[in-house]
Symmetry: C2
Subunit: 678 residues, 2 copies
């Protein structure tokens, strides 16, 4: 029997019939015959997709708790073999890597065992954060979180009428864990992180008081753990491992990026009107630059990824003109090609699309139209699509685009690399991000041109330049309205992605929802305190209040974009810090106040950089707002009143004055003070 | 190795690594190392109840497929030991009983294995019926059916607004399989039945094309199979085994039993008015005979099971008077005692109530009031409650009652017999039926006094004199309205209970639902062609159209009760046949036309006795109706038109003329013909 091996914080101690494993003093894994830490088994996944909405069930054939334990040393580290009679066995290879991280490889011995259940030790008071972009919960304790990239759901709460209506229509209502950006990575309040390199379906269940139950639908798994003396250091270590985002182009901070559709002249007119009313405009984002189609859902795009000269006459001339005026033009792309058009024909001719079981090009139904899936695992196809981005987007003159989708890879399609689509499904968004990233990098445009994504997975930290929160409802709901953007940004921050923004005003306009003026204004107030302001008309623009629906709105926008613009140096510095040290721009309070347990569950307020505390108003008809201030020397941004924190505080919160405090001792205090008169 | 044993139709054949088991030529069980028929494992049930609505999950620790097979003869029959290495094993004891039925006992060898999964062989075209009272499906193929007695749900279809509203309020919406009367018993179109004697939670999954997956949350199980040359013979064999219902009191056929509440004079006035308008009245059913309380749900009863002299002054005199006039008086009881009153005090004093974990009397929340659970496993308590029934109900003069509830036994209560409430939960309704039955039998009142129940389980066939379909919505929904009563009656018929009726007009009046006049009239038309007519005011009487809401309704009722009354000899004979031969009164068409596959899935039409085919109109605003007529010599009851069947037919279906055909060659044809002029 191998004896205790303390090794840079790794402590493995055999016991009578098992072992304990500590890292940096934290008990992570514990095994005994009575309480085995590992089960293995066999299941058959039953995965149905309809328009990005997944129904996932496991047809479980067997599950075996591995009770017996044998330990030996090996060149690759400690080798722990767990078994159950002659019936099943698996090996845990336990080692530390050069950076001092704990690495555990789990390997099933039986080829037909394709399920792993691993229990980590948990404490009753422990909090868990991360798992990608989580819209409903910041602290994930108390619930299971299936990790599968998909639509985020419309409503996302079975007790709302909107969710029920969306469910009835196309199983689209979703639930608290639905997300475009899941990730098998979490941070514990015990100051360790856990990351799994796999990409098959997983479910992390944080319900039990004494353990975290990690279910992995693969025959082997690679886990990685690390600890740090503080949450901030831990998040920094995590992002060092996963990769960090480069800085944003400098022009992003110059004002709002206006979401406009409808053609060159519409853009010109709306731009003129906005500027005339004093709005700071950094760009125009026209997702229909490549044409559009009308479906029952609303206006949709023509997925052929090249300038539509008919809808946007003279755009090639107008882009440089706008640019000279300080206004960038941004477009849209996604990893699918509509079957009616020439990009599809080209991809099909070269065999660049994913296949169906009969070897034909797989066609995905996207709501009254079909598209092929560019096979990003085929190096030729990947290169080709990168060239499409370079030629049709970058060289055409776009200064940015929404790189939409990524979460729809059907599990019954066949890929060039021979890996099951069930395993590639989660990896797809990161692959899609990488494709965009490389197109930029190879064009020498990193730091100048921007793309932003909603879908993500491990790898997106490195390749996705900016996340956006996907498709919120144009409403006040906690799970899918304005509010949901905040835990989304914070959970992503705890997963190593530090750049986040949202559709200003929300997107999904269905089931009688219509964006009110108040919602647009509150969202504007919120967006001014994020690293990027970008509006969206929504899927049914005519039903929604828009930035130019009246003069008051435009004046409001003028004021808030002015504030955003004044924050430019502060934001730039925070974004640089994120790039350099992996400390997110929108931060959970606990990153700086982890000695105060009150901050552990704050899902609806955040720090913007180190020195601003923001608590967006996310309910209608409020003129005051209550938030929590940790102990520090705070100043109310609008009233100038000081507050030393350590308590809840209720502040005046009229439209245009979102609850914001700054640190009295901030190096930026003078700048912040000027905003009071904005 | 034991060789083939053909034994009265039982054929057991060892194979290279397993066996096949046939009964009467039907392949029922098949085992090989590759496709093991049995898995065992361990789970921990997580069962939550709120007002009879259950949320049930299994925390599954392990599941092992038993691949190896060893066969030996024993005194008790064939002994097949299935195992998986040294890790798990179970024994199948296979034998035929004196009646030629196949008996299989499954026994886990390991004491900690408390789950059994058994796969039976299925054919792709096979239909499955039964599993108790199923409201949404008659043919159960294609879905899993959890078997757990509970409320039936309000709406019972996640795509209806009512269901969603009920779910939001108290998880009360239910689903397609929710039922008061589940039973682990089914009949296959391959002409065999399968019955399991256990009572723990089970789930029978009929989704797979090649097998039926039976999950049983107990360490052992007792299965029983039999075959017959026809479905009719099979159902008769099944009811011979399970027990049959005695004949109904003769007075039941004399007219409607009017559901009235509000006191002696209200009953008198409504009775007078009904009779004055020509309604045939067999009885008054006053559920509030023992007093009432008002809650937010509507009018509820005072659960103290004795005449409330204040609300019903002079009732002791009025009952014999009404009886002389041919009108019986029926009351209400259930197995709970309200904590405010003396029955509870008496039960508590004697220790007759079930207990909580601390040994105190368990109190169940029933919606703004609490009640104790009479412990029917305590022989003293059981006897006492029988005496309550005899003294307070029978001796007081009631000629019948609703024996409500039975499905609410909480799983965290503790019982006198020491058996876990998780195991007793399903048995409770049958125990409750037996208590009522014995009270009647011991009073010599069987065949004279009637009780009817909604909850049931194995055993209810013998002890529950009459079932009613529980609480339908006062609406037209397929899953919870008028329509749902028909598959309920038919599935119960295939489970061996042949007497069924429903609340005429439906019951649940919530979420804006209000009973329309048309619904009441259609329900009346339907009820006239069932073995019992009984109206209900609903839980919010003032919101509902009632039998006496206008003269036209009363005239309609007069006509339909007249028709019902004229059917008396025919109904009596059908009920006698049910009692004697176990052939249900409301019969699926396939019982008499099993050569016609078109009849296999008919969920919304039935045979009443042998000679009437009834297809109730269950949608609003219809004046014609389409039904299927199997090949036979049929006569349209209302038009007299003949039809030789073998096709769908669309008939006129005005109010008061529900689609009904009779067999030209019926011995009752003359009687039926007279109804044309009714």
């Amino acid at each position: 029997m191998t004896s205790t091996i303390p090794q840079g914080g790794l402590e493995f101690s055999p016991t009578a019939d098992g072992f304990t494993l500590h890292l940096g003093g934290r008990l992570l894994l514990q095994h005994s015959a009575q309480r085995p830490c590992l089960s293995v088994g066999q299941g058959e996944a039953d995965i149905e997709m309809f328009r990005g909405n997944f129904s996932i069930k496991d047809n479980l054939h067997e599950k075996l708790a591995l009770t017996a334990c044998a330990i030996r040393d090996s060149d690759a580290g400690l080798c722990v073999t767990l078994s159950r009679g002659e019936v099943a066995a698996a090996t845990l290879m336990i080692a530390q890597d050069e950076a001092g991280r704990l690495r555990i490889s789990v390997n099933n011995h039986s080829p037909h065992h394709n399920r792993i259940w691993l229990n980590l030790v948990a404490g009753p008071e422990e909090r868990i954060y991360g798992c990608g972009e989580q819209f409903s919960y910041f602290n994930l304790r108390g619930r299971p979180f299936p990790l599968w990239t998909s639509e985020q759901g419309v409503g996302r709460n079975k007790k709302t009428l909107v969710t029920w209506q969306a469910d009835c229509q196309e199983n689209a209502g979703g639930d608290y864990y639905w997300t475009f950006f899941p990730q098998p990575t979490f941070v514990s309040s015990r100051r360790y992180f856990c990351h799994i390199s796999n990409s098959g379906y997983m479910c992390f269940d944080f319900s039990a008081p004494d353990h975290h139950a990690l279910a992995i639908w693969e025959p082997q798994a690679e886990l990685c753990f690390d600890t740090a003396p503080s949450q901030l250091a831990l998040v920094s270590k995590l992002s060092a491992m996963l990769g960090r985002q480069p800085e944003l182009p400098e022009w992003v901070y110059d004002g709002i990026i206006l979401g406009i559709q409808g053609g060159t002249e519409v853009c010109q007119q709306k731009l003129d009107r906005a500027r005339e009313m004093g709005v700071s405009v950094a760009g125009i984002w026209a997702q229909d630059w490549e044409g559009r189609r009308i479906t029952s859902f609303g206006k949709r795009l023509m997925w052929n990824w090249r300038w539509d000269e008919e809808l946007y006459p003279g755009l090639d001339q107008r882009i440089p003109q706008w640019k000279q005026e300080g206004v960038r033009f941004l477009g849209y792309i996604n990893p699918y090609v509509a079957i009616e058009k020439e990009l599809y024909a080209e991809a099909a001719a070269h065999g660049y699309l994913t296949r169906d079981a009969e070897g034909r090009d797989y066609q995905v139904e996207f709501g009254e139209f079909y598209a092929g899936v560019v096979d990003l695992t085929n190096p030729e196809a990947y290169r080709w699509y990168k060239e499409v981005i370079k030629r049709n987007l970058i060289n055409f003159g776009l200064d940015g685009w929404m790189a939409d989708f990524g979460e729809y890879l059907p599990t019954d399609t066949f890929l060039h690399n021979g890996v099951s689509a069930e395993i590639m499904h989660n990896r797809w968004p990161a692959l899609w991000a990488q494709c965009n990233y490389e197109a930029l990098a190879e064009s020498g445009k990193l730091g100048e041109v921007l793309f932003f994504m909603r879908a993500g997975y491990t790898g997106s930290q490195k390749y996705s330049l900016m996340m956006w929160a996907g498709d919120q409802n144009v409403d006040w709901s906690l799970d899918d309205g304005l509010a949901s953007v905040i835990p989304a940004a914070l959970s992503l921050a705890m997963t190593g992605h530090g750049l986040h923004h949202s559709d200003l005003g929300g997107y999904t306009t269905l089931f009688g929802m219509k964006r009110s003026k108040e919602l647009l204004l509150r969202w504007c107030d919120f967006a001014a305190f994020t690293p990027m302001m970008r509006s969206h008309e929504g899927n049914r623009p005519d039903d929604n209040w828009q930035f130019d629906s009246d003069d008051e709105t435009l004046r409001h926008l003028a004021r808030m974009t002015g504030i955003f613009r004044r924050l430019k140096p502060y934001l730039q510095q925070a974004v640089a810090e994120n790039s350099r040290e992996g400390i997110p721009v929108m931060r959970p309070l606990l990153l700086h106040y982890e000695d105060d347990p009150q901050t552990f569950d704050l899902a609806y307020q955040y720090l913007l950089g180190r020195d601003l505390l923001v608590a967006p108003v996310h309910q209608p008809d409020c003129r005051t707002w209550t938030l929590y201030l940790p102990r520090d020397h705070w100043v109310n941004l609008w009233s100038g009143e000081p507050d030393s924190g350590g308590h809840e505080v209720t502040v005046d919160a009229p439209l245009g004055q979102p609850p914001v405090f700054y640190r009295r001792d901030s190096a930026w205090a003078t700048l912040f003070a000027t905003l009071r008169d904005a």
